[in-house]
């Protein structure tokens, strides 16, 4: 039996046509649909479900923020840091953003090194990524402490404006922080296994790419929290 569609060469047909042909081949050929390892496919499916969790968080935040009559707290004022006699708006959040993006960059390089089976470089880069995550959690702990202890923000009350602010702040950033924490633990385990040579023995470094997917997703979620919660 032969099939007319070629999976690898895309000559003689338009891009759209090729896409549709590819789609039909993958879903109809009575073999596994996704031409990737199960570990990567399952991580993506998990990340889709996580997308819906954070998506519904941010949408519920939008819905409630639309309903309130009191003005929503001015985030660039709430999250300002007092540096050198002046208040710099959102300074800590900006630093957290850069730290998380940098950890995403080192993770991308770690995946690249793992594909070349460079054990040491890959392991060290994953450790660097986990360290970036730790710095992020540390700064978040500082931020929460400042808000709870110094400024008296509670899930049900705050001095800046609409009372609903606190519950969404703690829920959204808390859930993201939980993801970062789990990611740090996850990456530490993977780094240990890389450095111990487990994936050299298996001759298979795919798990580094899979853990990278999780870490980049954590960064991705922060992009939207930064935009819609802190900047909007």
């Amino acid at each position: 039996m032969t099939m007319r569609v070629n999976m690898n060469t895309h000559s003689n047909s338009s891009l759209i046509k090729t896409h549709i042909q590819d789609l039909i081949v993958d879903w109809s050929s009575d073999v596994s649909t996704f031409k990737v390892r199960w570990s990567k496919a399952m991580m993506w499916i998990f990340l889709i479900s996580d997308t819906f969790i954070f998506g519904t968080f941010l949408i519920s935040y939008m819905a409630v923020r639309l309903t309130v009559i009191d003005p929503w707290p001015d985030t660039s004022q709430v999250f300002a840091l007092h540096v050198g006699g002046t208040d710099v708006p959102l300074l800590l959040i900006a630093i957290m953003t850069f730290v998380l993006i940098s950890s995403s960059g080192t993770m991308a390089l770690a995946v690249n090194a793992s594909q070349k089976k460079l054990r040491l470089r890959s392991g060290v880069l994953i450790l660097l990524t986990a360290f970036g995550g730790l710095m992020f959690i540390g700064m978040q702990a500082f931020e929460w402490t400042k808000l709870i202890v110094d400024e008296g923000v509670r899930p049900w009350a705050n001095a800046f404006g609409a009372q609903q602010f606190g519950s969404f702040f703690f829920m959204i950033t808390g859930f993201h922080g939980l993801h970062v924490t789990i990611g740090v633990i996850y990456l530490s385990v993977i780094a240990k296994r890389v450095l111990q040579g487990r994936y050299d023995r298996l001759n298979d470094y795919q798990i580094v790419e899979v853990s990278g997917l999780y870490w980049h997703f954590v960064d991705l979620v922060w992009v939207f929290i930064f935009a819609f919660f802190y900047l909007w």
Binding site: M1, T2, M3, N6, M7, D22, L23, D26, W27, V31, T33, F34, K35, V36, R37, W44, I48, T51, F52, G55, I59, S60, M62, A63, V64, R65, L66, T67, I69, P89, L90, A94, T97, F98, I101, S102, S104, G105, M107, A108, L109, N112, Q115, K116, L202, D204, Y205, Q206, E209, G212, H216, F217, D219, L220, V223, F224, F226, A227, F228, L231
Partner: protein, 116 residues
């Protein structure tokens, strides 16, 4: 493609990596771009842009960053189309939810400001 070739696809052979490698330069370039885009969105707040321009810039910059992370860092640009659609199509439902709750939120706000 012959049936036999389908079964020779790397996904049937655990232990063999099929990922394409990309030059480190590409990752460093995207990294730099993400830094610049983040700095720009911070700048939008810093210079106190207000109203429609602020919201447009914040959303556009966030979507650009998200696109770069997903397509390059998460390698989605190089995956097969069946996987890409499986990942990117379901989240469109979130837009529907967004529309429904924006409507609902505005309605409640109207009720509160009129009768509250």
């Amino acid at each position: 493609m012959k049936e036999q070739e389908i079964f020779q696809h790397p996904s049937f052979f655990p232990g063999v990596t099929e990922e394409k490698e990309h030059p480190i330069k590409l990752y460093l370039f995207i990294w730099g771009l993400l830094f610049i885009l983040s700095a720009l969105s911070y700048f939008v707040d810093y210079i106190n842009l207000e109203g429609l321009l602020r919201w447009f810039l914040i959303t556009a910059l966030a979507l650009l960053k998200a696109g770069l992370i997903v397509s390059v860092f998460m390698h989605l640009a190089w995956e097969r189309i069946a996987l890409i659609y499986t990942i990117l199509l379901p989240p469109i439902l979130l837009l529907l939810m967004l529309a429904i709750f924006a409507n609902d939120g505005n309605a409640i706000n109207y009720l509160r400001s009129t009768f509250g």
